[in-house]
Amino acid sequence: MIEITNLHKRFGDQVVLDGVNFDVLEGETVALLGPSGTGKSVLLKHINGLIRPDFGRVLVDGLEVARLNRKDLASLRTRVGYVFQNGALFDSMNVFENIRIGIVDSDHYRDRDYCAERVQRCLKLVNLAEDTSWKLPAELSGGMRKRVGIARAIAGEPKYLLYDEPTSGLDPVNADIIDNLVTRLAEELGVTSVTVTHDVRGAFRVADRIALLANGKIVLEGTKEEFMESSRPEVKAFLERDFENPSFAA
């Protein structure tokens, strides 16, 4: 379980998170919605300790992330897969090595047969062909890069998966492929997922629960029905564009 309590973060004079309270239960998929620049990615990076809070607590499986020593933090990170917005693939490594480095158990990492099998399994899970392994990231399309990023994140068999804008910059077809993937991985691997997005349609498709981050706070947390019925101005303003096309909630 992930518990975030009264989280504050500022960069210089800019207050990004201003007392965020937010929980994610075991096995659920939560979508964290919000306009661009509201601190969704910053919030996500607090969960695996890439950013330290100014004030407040982030607990993962009861462990306070900011108080963990180096070894325990590294150990925690092996249980929390992180999918970066633009893939963050290592330019100098081919797809095989990019996924292999996600195998966090050092004995498994050194076992070539295990790695070959695991990389192929992860590529299959994200619907990529076997021969993709030998390509360099520069040879991949945007959608493929995101899928390799997901494959790397699941290679270490994490308990949690954090997705940072998994569909941003993709055309609707590729965005649907990624959304389906998020749903399928949650079902097949039983991972607890948090996906940060400003794509309402995608959030409604993948999430059991939705939270809206605005003005540094979670202003609404609930099911998609509760989200649609909310009369809060922040929610209405966020949904306004999509109300003209109500089919997104289908």
Partner: protein, 249 residues
Amino acid sequence: MYVLHALAAVGRVTRMLAEFVRALAEWRIWVPRTIEEAYNVGIGSLFIILLVSGFAGAVTAMQAGYQFTGSIPIYIVGSLVVESIILELGPVLTALVLAGRIGARYAAELGTMRVTEQIDALESLGRSPASHLLVPRILACMLMIPVLTVLADVIGVVSGWYFSMQVLPITNSDFAYGARAFWRDFDAYYSVIKAFAFGLSIAVTSTYMGFSTQQGAEGVGKATTTAVVVSSVLILLLDTLLARVLLHG
């Protein structure tokens, strides 16, 4: 304000070096990457280093011959070529060239990795950026820059000798006599000590600038330029400091 910024930078460099020391325990990770980096630094820089030192030796010999006329014995050309190349031109020119070639590359590589979140990705996998990225680069520079400097010294002296023979009225035995006349074994050690210090300053400066890059492509450009400028200034400062301490201490 500048003092505070400078102190903050010193603090961050110190923390980075502490990460370096801590990461040395993860030898399974850094050993293969260090060999790869050492190859890149050493073999990749060999041509330009030998070219620069060859020209430096030739020009030193010809200028010495031009200046030392009349009452100054010609064998002094041998002394001047050997001492100038080994004490100063070999290590300093090698370091300045490598500050441009290796320093810029490290800052740009790591800066790009920083702004494209590749360094965050390493951390998010529970892996240490220090053992994967920092240790191999620093050790490769510390190992290979002294080796390149020794080669530059040899080529510079050989080039100086060859051009002296071709251009000046000096014999082999005059040149050899001059070369031995003021030679001290410490001169060779001094050249290597300087190369080691320059290598460390290039590696630490450029990796620090790369790791602390911010703000996209513009930030990478700034980090790269700053890495080359600061490394070059540090090389000249260290050159003066080491001359004062080791030659006149």
